[in-house]
Amino acid sequence: MAKSALLKSSLAKKYWMALTGLFLCLFLIGHLIGNLQLLATGENAALNFNKYALFMTTNPAVKLLSYLTYFSILFHAVDGIVLTVQNKKARPVGYVKNSPSSNTVWASRNMAVLGTLILVFIVTHMVNFWAVMHFDKNMPLQKVKIEVNGMEQELYLTTDGGYMPVAQVEQGNIEIKHRTEFYDANAHVKIKEGYKDLYKVTVDFFKHEKWGLIATILYVFAMFVLAFHLYHGFSSAFQSLGLNNPKYNSLIKNFGKAFSVVVPLLFASIPVFIHFILK
């Protein structure tokens, strides 16, 4: 009884929606903190960001969390679709005249639409960055130009804090293997490792001559959608889990509202900053 109840019943579906939703809210915070580094300017901005990106793609604990995130997104979406289909079935004949705005807020009625848009955004977003980072053979490595003996030289930055002259690679002395590793071409020994330049990918993406503006606008729009989704979703998750107490309700509601505004706003500020402000 209890087992099937936890999987199949209408209430259980709500629990899973709430739990995955709240977990994704946590993810948003983590993701945001990392991404905000893109707002930094100065010498080390790119390096710091790329270092962070490297950490995020290699640390085992982070890996585990990322799998949990993928799972949550999928589950949240699938569960949402199942719920929506069931809910549509619960009212086979609709009203000729209906006035839903007199008793509910818009966002709460459109979670499925908002969620679908967010899902589309997530897929696009992952194609744009995540897939590039993970799979693109042409993913650039971070380089710097430094004046050495009055001559400007291009160097790869390496994870040991050192450099690897680009010329060496071009001349064939050094091979790049596994996308980031510098190998002695003769000895077949790994010497150093470079940084994937996600910073550059990101900046190029939003500063793209043709698509930069459109990408920026679409990203900002996506954050609007996210804001509405969170506006209802955040406090709703608490209600679904039964965490409703008159003492704390207004706290949860207000925090949820603030969260739904602040987090997407900060996310949206990044492409805007890159496109319009970053030199």
Binding site: M1, A2, A5, L6, S9, S10, L11, A12, K13, K14, Y15, L83, Q86, N87, K89, A90, R91, P92, V93, G94, Y95, V96, K97, N98, S99, P100, S102, N103, T104, V105, S108, R109, M111, H232, S236, Q239, S240, L241, G242, L243, N244, P246
Partner: protein, 252 residues
């Protein structure tokens, strides 16, 4: 009291029986006193229809004082009409203006099939109640003394507020998902808040939710429409309490 008279146009759902396809019919009704209740206005329409040798509009109603829960009606897109915290029988025609067009439709839910015109079948609620909406105590009267177990006033009051539900189904009708969780949540809460009901709380919530799901009601997405349209102002807190009770019952 100073009553005015208004002329209105009614757009009413007519459906011969459960199997037939229904449609909206239009009726003109003149000289409706603004002191009349909405149902008295429908009485007036029916008198007019009977006078014209036409079949009157079938609608559910009984006590006409907002407590039996029999009247329903989706009026101009809202359960129990434009006013809040009242049932249709307490809605008065002064809420409308001369020349208004008023849409009147039955509750819409898979679990509340239309029987005729504006009448729907709400026995799903009865079956949910039969699945667990009670305390399993025999009716001998030989239980313990009523004052043997004190109940905190706060709990007793919350329990009463939940128990004030009249089972009209406005929550289901106004929920975009056709969900019955406010109804079930209220019943679960009434008993969960009292020591007499706590004993079988686990089984109760599991059984009532199972029956609710079987009846074909939708899921709650916390839009809160039910709370706004509930004529007795039953709080969403009761749904949260049911969620809590069910979670605990599921992992027990």
């Amino acid at each position: 009291m100073a009553s005015k008279y208004i002329n209105i146009t009614l757009k009413i759902w007519r459906q011969k029986d459960a199997k037939s396809k229904g449609q909206i019919e239009t009726y003109k009704l003149d000289n409706v006193s603004t002191s009349s209740s909405f149902l008295e206005m429908l009485d007036q329409l029916n008198e007019q229809l009977v006078g014209e040798r036409k079949e009157p509009v079938a609608f559910d109603h009984d006590c006409r004082e907002g407590i039996c829960g029999m009247c329903s009606l989706y009026i101009n897109g809202r359960a129990h009409g434009p006013d809040t915290k009242i049932t249709t029988c307490q809605l008065h025609m002064r809420s409308f203006k001369d020349g208004d067009t008023i849409y009147v439709e039955p509750w819409r839910s898979k679990a509340f099939p239309v029987i005729k015109d504006l009448i729907v079948d709400r026995t799903a609620f009865d079956r949910i109640q039969q699945a667990g909406g009670f305390v399993s105590v025999n009716t001998s009267g030989r239980t313990m003394d009523a004052n043997a177990i004190p109940v905190a006033k706060h709990d007793a009051d919350r329990s009463f507020e939940a128990a004030a539900c009249i089972g009209c189904g406005a929550c289901v009708a106004s929920c975009k998902n056709g969900s019955a969780m406010l109804f079930v949540g209220a019943k679960v809460s009434q008993y969960a808040l009292l020591p007499q009901g706590k004993v079988e709380a686990t089984q109760r919530v599991l059984n009532m939710v199972r029956q609710m799901d079987e009846e074909g009601f939708g899921n709650c997405t916390n839009t809160g429409a039910c709370e706004v349209e509930c004529p007795k102002g039953i709080s969403l807190e009761n749904i949260a309490r049911m969620n809590r009770e069910y979670l605990v019952a599921s992992i027990k």
